[in-house]
Amino acid sequence: MEAASVTAGPPRRRSEAVRDFVSRYGLIAILLVLPVVYGLQDLSNDGNLTRLGENLAEGVSNGAILALIALGYTLVYGIIELINFAHGEVFMLGSLTAAALYSPFGLTPDTSAAGLILGLLAILVLSMLVSGTLNVMIERVAYRPLRNAPKLAPLITAVGMSFILQNVGILWIGASQKSVPDLIGSQEHLFNISGVSINRGTVLAVATMIPLVFLLTSFVAHSRLGKAMRATAQDPEAARLMGINVDTTISLTFLLGGLMAGAAGLITALYQTSIWYFQGFSAGLYAFTAAVMGGIGNIRGAVLGGFIIGIIQGISDNRIGNDWTPAIVFVYLIIIMVFRPQGLIGEETREAG
């Protein structure tokens, strides 16, 4: 490819400039298709953008959840180049744990605000710990024995693990969707932003996500262990020679990813007020799409990608129909993987070829 462009000389310049432009902004243009189309439709029908704004608000809360899950994919991929296919199920089991803890903590929709906040904080910590520990155990059982195996082997065990965990979910709560008490009144209107009603669920999702992401980024950027993680991601052999315990560092990465997934699990239980053994499958794939979109291995990218996919999901759910959302997100997934595998703000990776 490169050789051809060198020999072609000046006449090819323009086409190359076009290609550069397309590869840089093409994906952004494709991403804008849905909001622009429905925005124009709203403008011509209602004369304002309120409906689109409401879709966006829903998208932002989806996005906060997806961003937290995507962090798990991105951290793990960054360090051992493995798609942790079972991560969606870690999130699902976090959600089930959180919902199961409502009644032991005595939380009902009538609980006072202070009790609710304290109880939910405790549940948040517990479900994060459950998911984190689970993720570490998955790594220990399914991935560590295969470190030397061909690259596809751990992916296959990951798929197997994901099915096992889904069925743990079935054994736990049954195969149908189960509704859980709406503790916070998640659909209740809180305030308006230029005519768009923002509900409690959205505020909760964003307010939980921001401090967690802040803690995670500062941990990775400033702590000794975070430095070890970054070193291992760059070159595990060199990291080992510098005295870093690579196995522990990898376990720590899985722990951090699991913690985030557990938090996302609680938010989902509160926001959707229903839990399902299958919720991790699609959420996991959406979050993976988000991680790739932001540039896999990139923490800020995962958050950005999470919000983008969340907004696509929000628009598609309301305008095109729930049934079509997976197909639409997967079309985006394929487009991104094929045309910009390095993501929106990622660097060139091996996969980019």
């Binding site: 051992i80 180049e81 493995l82 798609i83 059982v141 399914a142 024995p145 295969l146 470190r147 030397n148 195996a149 061909p150 690259k151 596809l152 082997a153 751990p154 992916l155 296959i156 065990t157 798929v159 197997g160 693990m161 994901s162 099915f163 096992i164 889904q166 069925n167 743990v168 079935i170 054994l171 195969a175 070159d235 595990p236 052999e237 080992r240 690579v246 196995d247 499958f281 794939l285 993976f288 129909g321 049934d323 079509w324 997976p326 197909a327 997967f330 079309v331 997934l333 394929i334 993987m337 094929v338 595998p341 091996r350 996969e351 070829g353």
Partner: protein
């Protein structure tokens, strides 16, 4: 001289044993009642063998992990729904299109094609779909291919599950959505006439056995052909294969197309056998079920995949419902305080098999020699440095 004679003798012995096995398989249903449940399970198992052999071409030979194999199963089944039922009852002013259809189907509205035409049609659409799925993955490697194929499989199942709202030709949707399309025509063959699954399952069994033998033969010929060797070279080292003159694009696309075609054949047989097509069964789980067969038997090993498919199919149709959910096992479980049916968690069982095989015996039950070498082979550099991560990151560099 003696060695040659011995080899010739071996070959003859091989033919005799092979012939005896085929004969045993062919005679099996005669010892059973015409509508015996076991024959039904065996038909399913053989249909899964066809599918697993197809997936083995992609995953086992060419080393491209395809997690969206359900797409071909879906397309094969939908082909029977489109072309062998009264689904498009409006065509030609409700007179229908009939090509080689049975006397019964000849009078029905809708499109009714002969089974042989149907199979060719399914092969063509699945091969095309395989190429379409393959195209975007050409520049990708390993795990990204897996995710892109998975996404394609999900898109195709979604399109069929919601297809009742997608009208392409005048008022004709592409599928019946979550409702099933039924009845599907019985298989109608030129010499044997219409097979009737209501009176006897034997003809269906022999039909799928014949399909299996053809597919097995094609598989062996493909494996030893120039193309098959190119696939294996691709699996072992893509860069080396390319520099030895293996055309990557063509080789990869042909593997997707061939693998897809086998899935289509199987789906095309299963449509008439189930007598209905339901988009609800196009799930990611199907892809994993078939992949489980390939992994269980041994990636790239034709006999292994054959065994794996039969085993896993019987785990699904016999072990789980009849043994694990049988009275004895359920009694044991409830005395342990566990109260669940294994059929609720069958995909968990398949997942467990995947995990166990990959960790304990990644080469499968009947390993393929070359693939086993790839799994265990150590380059000198790795022997010097026993670092656990070494191989993984070596591959990355």
């Amino acid at each position: 001289m003696t060695r040659v004679r011995q080899l010739r003798g071996d070959q003859r012995a091989g033919w005799v044993i092979g012939g005896a096995v085929v004969l045993a398989f062919a005679l099996m249903p005669l010892f059973r009642a015409p509508l015996d449940g076991f024959t039904g399970d065996a038909i399913l198992a053989l249909a899964y063998v066809v599918m697993a052999l197809g997936l083995n071409l992609v995953v086992g030979f060419a080393g491209l992990l395809d997690l969206g194999y359900v797409a071909f199963y879906a397309l094969g089944l939908m082909a029977t729904g489109w072309w062998a039922s009264d689904f498009y009852s409006g065509v030609k002013d409700q007179k229908g299109i009939h090509i080689g259809a049975s006397n019964f189907a000849d009078k029905l509205p809708g499109i009714h094609l002969n089974f042989l035409i149907l199979i060719v049609g399914a092969i063509v659409i699945c091969a095309i779909a395989g190429i379409i799925i393959g195209l975007p993955t050409l520049r990708l490697r390993g795990d990204y291919i897996a995710i892109v194929t998975l996404a394609f499989g999900e898109i195709i199942s979604r399109v069929f599950a919601n297809g009742d709202s997608l009208e392409i030709f005048h008022n004709d949707a592409i599928s019946n959505g979550r409702q099933s399309i039924s009845p599907i025509d019985q298989i109608n063959l030129p010499i044997f006439g219409e097979l009737d699954s209501a009176t006897s399952l034997r003809p269906y069994y022999w039909c799928v056995l014949a399909l299996c033998l053809v597919v097995l033969f094609v598989n062996f010929r493909l494996r030893d052909s120039r193309l098959g060797r190119a696939w294996i070279a691709l699996r072992e080292d893509e860069v080396a294969a390319a520099s030895m003159g293996v055309p990557l694009v063509k080789t990869k696309l042909l593997s997707y197309a061939a693998g897809g075609a086998f899935g289509g054949i199987s789906g095309c047989f299963l449509g008439p056998f189930f007598a209905s097509v339901n988009a609800n069964q196009f799930m990611f789980g199907v892809s994993i079920f078939i992949l489980g067969m390939v992994i269980l038997g041994g990636l790239g090993s034709i006999w292994g995949v054959l065994l794996g498919a039969i085993l896993l199919s019987f785990v699904n149709s016999w072990l789980i419902p009849d043994v694990l959910d049988g009275e004895w096992m359920q009694g044991k479980l409830s005395s342990l305080g566990l109260n669940f049916q294994f059929s609720e968690v069958e995909f968990g069982v398949f997942g467990f098999i995947l995990l166990l095989m990959m960790v304990l015996r990644p080469e499968g039950l009947i390993p393929e020699r070359r693939h086993q070498l790839e799994l265990t082979e150590m380059t000198p550099g790795e022997l010097e440095e026993p670092g656990q991560l070494h191989a993984t990151y070596e591959a990355r560099a």
